[in-house]
């Protein structure tokens, strides 16, 4: 029983667990943007756990794997943002109305579907 193997197993199981949870989220959440939220967890934490475990198991590859983790942390948000923009542009107005509570990208004009919370009287 080696310490290194225990550490590798712990890091890899964190990664695999996050991966499983986020793919359950991608399968069950109701619309694209919520799925994007679940996907972001797998895109950074899950995969970097698994990759880091491989790097710890093979010390020769550790530098490359850390570089790959940095790459994931840079590219994950880029991919998520690009895909969200595309999903927003492809959606029809009715779908946007159903999905978004607060439409920020509509030419500076902001609509809210629900009434804003009542402000309490000052004092």
């Amino acid at each position: 029983m080696e310490t290194r193997e225990i550490i590798v197993l712990i890091v890899a199981s964190i990664g695999a667990l996050i991966m499983l949870i986020s793919s359950i989220g991608v399968l069950t959440l109701p619309d694209v943007f919520m799925r994007m939220h679940a996907f972001g967890k797998a895109g950074t934490m899950g995969i970097s756990g698994l990759i880091l475990a491989a790097g710890l198991f093979y010390p020769n590859y550790l530098a490359r794997m850390v570089a790959l983790v940095i790459l994931f942390f840079v590219t994950g948000p880029i991919a998520a943002t690009a895909l969200s923009r595309a999903a927003y542009k492809v959606a029809t107005p009715a779908a946007k109305e159903a999905m978004l509570e607060f439409n920020e990208m509509e030419n500076g004009r902001q609509r809210t579907k629900r009434k804003p919370a009542k402000k309490k009287a000052a004092g």
């Binding site: 793919s23 399968l27 698994l50 990759i51 790959l68 595309a86």
Partner: protein, 91 residues
């Protein structure tokens, strides 16, 4: 029985299960952005599975494959997203 190999096997089963869930979303996904999202998720899970197999079978050269697959998955996702935006703009 080697407990370390057994643990890695359990993690491989978990990852394969999540791979199947991701493919279900890829099949079901009502429109293109959903499918692109599911494809990106599946690519990441394939990278994870390759990394675990590299640990399990003492084959560190598989990690190079994992690196290339990761970069290609990212490029593919951004390409699909860009294509969707431009197609909408052109109309």
């Amino acid at each position: 029985m080697n407990w370390f190999d057994a643990g890695i096997d359990i993690l491989l089963v978990m990852l394969t299960l999540s791979f199947l869930l991701g493919s279900l979303r890829l099949i079901k996904g009502p429109d293109v952005p959903n499918r692109a999202l599911a494809f990106d998720l599946i690519t990441l899970q394939a990278v994870g599975i390759v990394a675990l197999i590299a640990i399990r079978h003492d084959a560190p050269m598989l990690l190079d494959i994992a690196m290339v697959a990761a970069v290609l998955g990212f490029v593919g996702t951004v390409l699909v997203a860009r294509y969707l935006e431009q197609a909408r703009d052109g109309e």
